[in-house]
Amino acid sequence: MSDLLYMVLVAPFKDMAGAPAFLVEVLIGGVFAGLMYSLVALGFVLIYKASGVFNFAQGVMVLFAALTLVGLLERGAPVVVALALTVAVMVGLAYAIERVVLRPLVNQPQIILFMATIGLNFFLEGFGEMAWGANVKKLDIGIPDRSFIVRGVQINELELTAAVTAAVLVTLLALFFQTTRIGRALRAVADDHEAALSIGIPLKTIWVVVWSVAGVVAIVAGLMWGAKSGVQFSLSLIALKALPVLILGGFESVPGAIVGGLIIGVGEKLGEVYWGPLVGGAIENWFAYVLALAFLLVRPQGLFGEKIIERV
């Protein structure tokens, strides 16, 4: 018994103190992975804030964006043109979703909308693979996947780029929300649908805008994940990685998505490296969920979610 307690409570920390450079490496790996999760979680948050839809299809949107981009690049389009065309495709997709799915389902319970996005998930998966082929594709964006060493700590160039991109994207989004006219309207809609409608904010336009923004976020996420691990079907499964980030940070909070991503990324890496071997490894599938669940039991609305006020 005391052996077990020692293995769980003492030995991992001894390992950490014994090899600080390795610990820093693990931590940095966790931060990078976390930022990648945040990129996907951001798309969820944007849509949930503005339309109250829990968009399960965000993962497939990432896949679809990456597939489109790679498909265009393969057909010889210059990078800038391919990016512009992909953005256009995602905006078109947002428009189609608003017209075909969201508008007829206005005022339905959230679970129906959630199911609709799962239906959308299947549809986009089939459509994307039919249009661009199902084989694994390499996405080369000109950043080499190599590492350099700073004071004995390995840093991967690609992951660093992804982290910087995520930071830039979040800053841009924050500016967009805080300063532009559409951003203000988005925040108003997020606050209160009906009040926003009554002062003349066109809800339908806002939905198209917000799904487009989520589509652009999906392109960035697809770019980063695709460069890291190739563009293939499994890319859509990162949605399942983003869900614990989402509940940890709170569905309505952009900073929550970032902080949640960092906590999950770091926690997951630490758990995997230091505690994983105790139970035979491969814990990354569920560890994030259990971590998020533990946080939820203390704060049921997530770290940054809006306080749940209950009335009769």
Binding site: G119, F122, F127, M130, A134, V290, A292, L297, P300
Partner: protein
């Protein structure tokens, strides 16, 4: 003309509260159940029984279970696959450890095991609500699957990591394992789902079901009028997991024959949730309709191009199937968000007035 209740007076409280208050309904359902027991084993071929009817019955049971939790008690759960896995693995462990134990008892006990696990993972529902809870139940899904994959004890240290249904008999007839005739497995699955559907129907119209619906509709108000949220929510998780556990055990023992954890992955959870929502939340009949729809649709879609005389590559066909599947789900949600059960109800109302609608 045929379907109307004129002249059928309810003279007692019991007859007013009957499951099927109209004579025609009673006769029809009774005849349907008897026919379901007698006709398919006699005339249906192995393909029909094995590919369509048996999975339909098993998934109907799982869908009823999830409908109790999500449709009646309002707790969204994505852990169905995990709970089904608990049922399947505990049935396997029980029947290999105690070969003389009746397989019916094994199924019921494995349902109880699943119920215990369901209670455990239902505890967070007291604090966590809505989509936060849905994601939290995913923790159950991933953790349980990982556990069954990792701990070799659950598969009796089989090197392949699969569990295989051994031969077991009921009243001298082999009902599980590779030697069981499809008809016997069909009757077994039908008997289980018929009994449990009746139990579910009676649960939801009694005190328990009403407290579930009170919690679903507004939990604070329910608490104020004296419904205890702890007991009610946990009971919903427990009973729902019991149903899913039995369905999971049946899935391996009556349908697949052998399985690994892949058979209970997250897609299984979504599949059952689809059945519940397409069929109709908060409707036992809806669970049947939803299960039939979701089981039949892929079979229909696979055969469609062939019967139209089209030839296409397997990959393309798979992709088109996915698109049509997703598209049809969207279509049904938009046309009738209350599910197939609501369509059925509308049809019945129309039938009462037919052929003179005014």
């Amino acid at each position: 003309m045929i379907y109307r209740e004129a002249g059928q007076f309810k003279t007692s409280y019991a007859s007013d509260q009957a499951v099927f208050p109209i004579v025609q309904d009673r006769v029809f359902v009774l005849a349907a159940v008897v026919a379901a027991f007698v006709v398919p084993p006699l005339i249906a071929g192995d393909y029909w029984l094995q590919a369509i009817l048996i999975p339909f019955l098993i998934y109907a049971l799982a869908a009823i279970g999830l409908n109790l939790l999500t449709g009646y008690a309002g707790q969204l759960s994505l852990g169905t696959g995990g709970f089904m896995a608990v049922g399947a693995y505990s049935a396997f462990k029980l029947t290999t450890a105690f070969p003389q134990l009746s397989i019916i008892a094994v199924f019921l006990l494995s349902g109880l095991a699943a119920a215990a696990i369901g209670l455990l993972f239902g505890i967070p529902s007291l604090r966590i609500k809505g989509f936060y809870l849905a994601v939290a139940t995913l923790a159950a899904q991933f953790f349980l699957i990982w556990l069954f994959n990792k701990v070799a004890w659950f598969t009796n240290y089989a090197s392949s990591g699969t569990i295989t249904a051994p031969d077991r008999t009921v009243l001298g007839v082999t009902v599980t394992g590779p030697n069981a005739p499809a008809a016997a497995r069909y009757v077994m699955a039908l008997a289980f789902v018929a009994v449990f559907a009746l139990v579910a129907k009676n649960l939801v119209r009694g005190r328990i079901g009403r407290s579930w619906m009170a919690i679903r509709d507004r939990d604070i108000a329910a608490e104020i009028i004296g419904v205890r949220p702890l007991r009610t929510k946990l009971l919903a998780f427990g009973i729902s997991s019991f149903y899913c556990g039995v369905a999971g055990a049946e899935l391996v023992f009556l349908y697949l024959g052998s399985a690994e954890t892949l058979a209970f992955d997250i897609n299984q959870s979504f599949l059952v949730l689809f059945m519940v929502i397409i069929g109709g939340l908060g409707s036992i009949l809806g669970s049947w309709l939803g299960a039939a729809f979701i089981i039949l649709l892929p079979i229909f879609l696979t055969r469609l191009p062939h019967s139209l005389g089209l030839t296409m590559s397997v990959a393309l066909q798979k992709q088109i199937e996915l698109m049509i599947f997703g598209g049809l789900i969207l279509f049904f949600l938009i046309v009738e968000p209350h599910g197939l059960a609501r369509l059925w109800q509308i049809g019945k109302e129309k039938l009462r007035l037919w052929p003179f609608p005014h």
